[in-house]
Point group: C2
Chain length 222, copies 2
């Protein structure tokens, strides 16, 4: 692992704010348009990364890493790549869906000022991983649990998170120099926000409504 | 989707407790031995399932379902299957790791009294899923985000969650009659607990220590 002079986590000096789990879950949004342009401060960033690192993981492997990206050139390069992937998706849509998609903002890479690239290392923990013997995917799932800890603790800090998935894995791997066999699984835009929208963007813009909870819950059998 | 007379979610009648995000993240454990044997009440179960359903999802597809299993025969059948998978894993270990593994409890299926089988439906949302065009895994990752919402809200409710992964997917698919192309991604043991352990089981039993946060955080490049 190569580390530059700025490496290592921010060191939070105070305990985090006390927003409740349920309020954080209710207020959380996938933020694109509401970043203020200010940079997240190191105290808050440190607490958010600590929250991610405190996630559960299969066999206690903690197979995640967090690459904090704030270099303006790197952000601009990634934003340009994502814009190309967005065009490809738009081109794949039937006309009526394309019209619905057009006004939807899909990233806030430069406006947020900070990207956290979350990665998964399948080799962490060696050959005999307790709990991955039968379901190998529980490895990468562990890194996803860390993302949700980051997302919810960010809400408590008045920090927005937007998960960008319009990218090619190979491009992002090169961009932030991720060594094999480590794999990037998310780019999170992270920064102060003016507000959290009440209604999720994809509902507001008519892309897709939510499904009632009653349809998702089954008893005894599916 | 087939539904029996007990189908549908529990209807919570009160708002949930106010435990903070940070306290929930700090207190959360992968529970095996601390289930009291009482059943989770329907109010708390309903709020926990609602929290899961309020997770973010790629393209707002909400590709998860939650099968709540409380039938004693089903729980016993699954526990027996998991015991077999545990033996297979133990047999695969070198002698010194096997000795460390032996006292570690890996499930609380019958003691918890409730299993929540979380599933992923890759067909939910149709052909043009906003955000899954480039990274298809963001579909199944969405269902994992729901699991972390369940886990943290359960801590707020004094309810323990233990993720069991010692099972064959095909066995669990048959057991709770999950139709293709839906896939089970987790069995969560859910129930009231006597306490949350301060130290994670795998650390207490000497299986694997945690990694410092400083090693997981990188700046600009990995």
């Amino acid at each position: 692992m190569s580390r530059d002079v700025n490496s290592g986590p921010a060191q939070p000096t105070e305990p985090g704010p006390a927003l409740s789990v349920y309020d954080a879950i209710r207020m959380r949004r996938d933020v694109r348009a509401e970043f203020t342009g200010e940079l997240v401060d190191e105290d808050r960033l440190g607490r958010i990364l600590r929250a991610g690192h405190d996630a559960p993981s299969v066999g206690n492997t903690q197979p995640w890493d967090f690459v904090v990206v704030q270099d303006r050139n790197t952000l601009a390069t990634f934003a340009e790549h994502v814009a190309g992937c967005r065009r490809d998706f738009a081109d794949s849509l039937p006309p009526e869906r394309r019209e619905t998609f057009d006004p939807i903002k899909i990233e806030g890479i430069e406006e947020s000022g900070t990207g956290i690239v979350v990665t998964y290392d399948p080799s962490r923990g060696g050959a005999n991983i307790l709990g991955r013997h039968t379901v190998d995917d529980t490895g990468v799932f562990s890194a996803v649990l860390a993302i949700q800890n980051i997302w919810l603790s960010a809400v408590a800090e008045d920090i927005g998170v937007g998960w960008v998935s319009f990218y090619d894995e190979a491009f992002l791997t090169d961009l932030v120099r991720i060594p094999a066999p480590v794999r990037p699984i998310a780019w999170l835009c992270v920064g102060p926000v003016s507000r959290f929208q009440e209604t999720p963007d994809l509902v507001r813009f008519g892309w897709r409504d939510g499904r009632p909870l009653s349809e998702a819950v089954h008893r005894e059998t599916f």
